[in-house]
Subunit: 366 residues, 2 copies
């Protein structure tokens, strides 16, 4: 088990990474003294596959356990669902020593984190992520969000967990599309911060898709370490450091919105967003064409899309201008000046953005 510390003074916490470590989870929790009653928010497939093991580990460590199932869909991440679940929390919380465990992927983590932040003005919570995307990204850093009918992720909090416990073993049940979704974020970390990780990905993509334990441990640990470092220095995205984690997300979110959130998974949209950001970076003279090609190859080899079909350009540009990533009316992109060298850039000429998006719709010559 490898331990990464995320330093935030009194709110510091550990990220534990390892394979088959759930047996140690209860002991870890005991040290943290979070409460006696574990309220586990999860979904049916995760509970069916791993619920018994978790329950055993928790009970052995002396905790009472209650599972709360939410539907395994993005729709669970709504303000209405939050109201229902927080009422269930209140009904369960008799002994007043309750803490919350998010046991699942990004949707479960977002909903559970938000509920933990608002119930009694904040109760302790722990992330027990079961997808690659959650282990490398969403479970770390305390950002939670739920959707309104008026827009995605419009309601939420920055509220840190007390522990992130990433058991690689949970990844073995991921389908290939879910796995690719996580790999897209791993590529993001490599591009903004870690040339060695980029090279590793180029060489070991096959091992990753074969769920090789050592490879998975390596990438989860690397990404956790990068994210922990950034969040430690800029928890609330006030210093412009945390912003680089949005690499590929500006155009990515616009593509998701313009395609009605159905055509592309989050990871696929981010892959397309990274293609756009790299093209803008090249047009701005930050990177050269060969490097752009190398990045595109990695994304393609990971089974992620590198071009877009039938999403209207104007829709993307409109969605883009409604995105949370804008400050006022200026646009803001995270670009790269080389592998591992991110640079936040504002006021990109619309012509360049448009050209990058048009490029996305062309067939590759190769």
């Amino acid at each position: 088990m490898r331990i990464i510390s995320l330093s935030l003074k009194k709110r510091s916490y550990d990220i534990a990474v390892g394979s088959g470590i759930t047996g140690y989870f209860g002991r870890y929790l005991n040290k943290l003294n979070l409460g006696s009653d574990a309220y586990v928010i999860t979904n049916a497939p995760v509970k069916k596959r791993y619920g018994q093991g978790l329950e055993k580990a928790l009970k052995k460590a002396g905790f009472s356990v209650r599972f709360k199932l939410i539907p395994d869909t993005e729709k669970s991440k709504s303000i209405e669902r939050s109201s229902l679940v927080v009422r269930d929390v209140a009904a369960y919380d008799k002994k007043r020593r309750l803490f919350i465990i998010a046991f699942g992927g990004g949707v479960v983590g977002d909903l559970a984190g938000f509920i933990a932040s608002i119930y009694k003005r904040g109760v302790p919570f722990v992330q027990l992520p079961t997808t690659l995307l959650a282990q490398v990204d969403s479970a770390i850093g305390g950002k939670s969000a739920v959707d309104l009918s008026e827009g995605k992720n419009l309601v939420g909090a920055i509220y840190q967990p007390r522990l992130v416990f990433s058991d690689i073993k949970y990844l073995s049940s991921l389908g290939p599309r879910e796995l690719r979704c996580g790999v897209a974020e791993v590529i993001k970390y490599a591009l903004i911060k870690d040339p060695a990780l980029f090279t590793y990905l180029e060489k070991r993509l096959k091992d990753i898709f074969n769920l090789d334990t050592a490879a998975m441990e390596y990438i989860v640990e690397r990404c956790s370490r990068i994210k922990a470092g950034i969040v430690s220095r800029d928890e609330k995205e006030e210093r412009g450091l945390r912003t680089i984690l949005n690499f590929g997300h500006t155009a990515g979110h616009a593509i998701e919105a313009a395609s009605g959130y159905t055509k592309y998974s989050h990871g696929e949209a981010i892959a397309l967003g990274m293609i756009v950001a790299c093209d803008i970076s090249r047009q701005m003279g930050f990177i050269d064409q060969p490097l752009q090609g190398r990045i595109k190859s990695l994304i393609r080899n990971a089974g992620l899309p590198t071009r877009i079909e039938r999403v209207p350009l104007s829709g993307i540009i409109n969605a883009h201008y409604r995105d949370k990533k804008f400050i006022g009316t200026r646009n803001r992109f995270v670009l790269i000046k080389g592998i591992g060298r991110a640079k936040v850039t504002e006021n990109i000429p619309l012509k360049i953005i448009r050209q990058a998006l048009e490029q996305l719709q062309k067939r590759d010559p190769s």
Copy 2:
């Protein structure tokens, strides 16, 4: 206009107190640079009486204004209402430079503060309190809460406003019961922290109920200063300092709950709670009988209840043991060791609590 600073590093803010100062409100907001679009949460009676004046002041300073009316009742402070209002905020928020103004009493302030804390993980908000209770207490310090059917105030945040702007003029439309409700909190401040304020209240109660401007300014300023000082040193109630603001609230909340939140207003319940806390203080040997009598007289002279009718004792004790103010299974009371000298005390023998509650039900010999 008197300005009190509440110091919380980057989140410090001013509390402005004065009579007829709403004309300066827009200018004050301009300096703070919170946004261009004011989303004003209020209720129909407040809007009818003061809406036009506020709108004029805001528009003159260049802000766009939207009023959102919520029903003038405690029921507005629900998680369901929060969902509806936050969706309305999202629908209004096109230009992305929105900030929220809480224009009303405690209910409006609680709901608006909670919504400001969760929308886009926090947007700026300002308290423009129109009741004495809100001006001296609830508008200051950033605590917000909404109710669940499972219990009151179970969901919320600690999220500071960017300005509290207390125009004494708004108090002129308060009914006597609302006024008394605020006076109960003023008495609380005197008892826990300010002997001079206590003497002032003994002498000037009549002026206060006649809404004498100088008297109102004095008490709002004194209380704001006390609360600002305490919140600055213990924002999140982690150091045991902020706890003393709960003087009278432990038994008060139990009395409210046991009487189904209808018989007594919040201020009346707090008055009864202070009577209980003083009786416990006397039984513990912290204060003597003459002082207890003097406090009781002040509460009675303010038109607040000093004894209870037909609320079953067992109901109070049960409600009491479910209250948020408990840590684990120990009880915890704020007591006083003299006027202005609060002391947090745990594990009061049940017999003493019971006796204090029984005392409440007896007719005064006087």
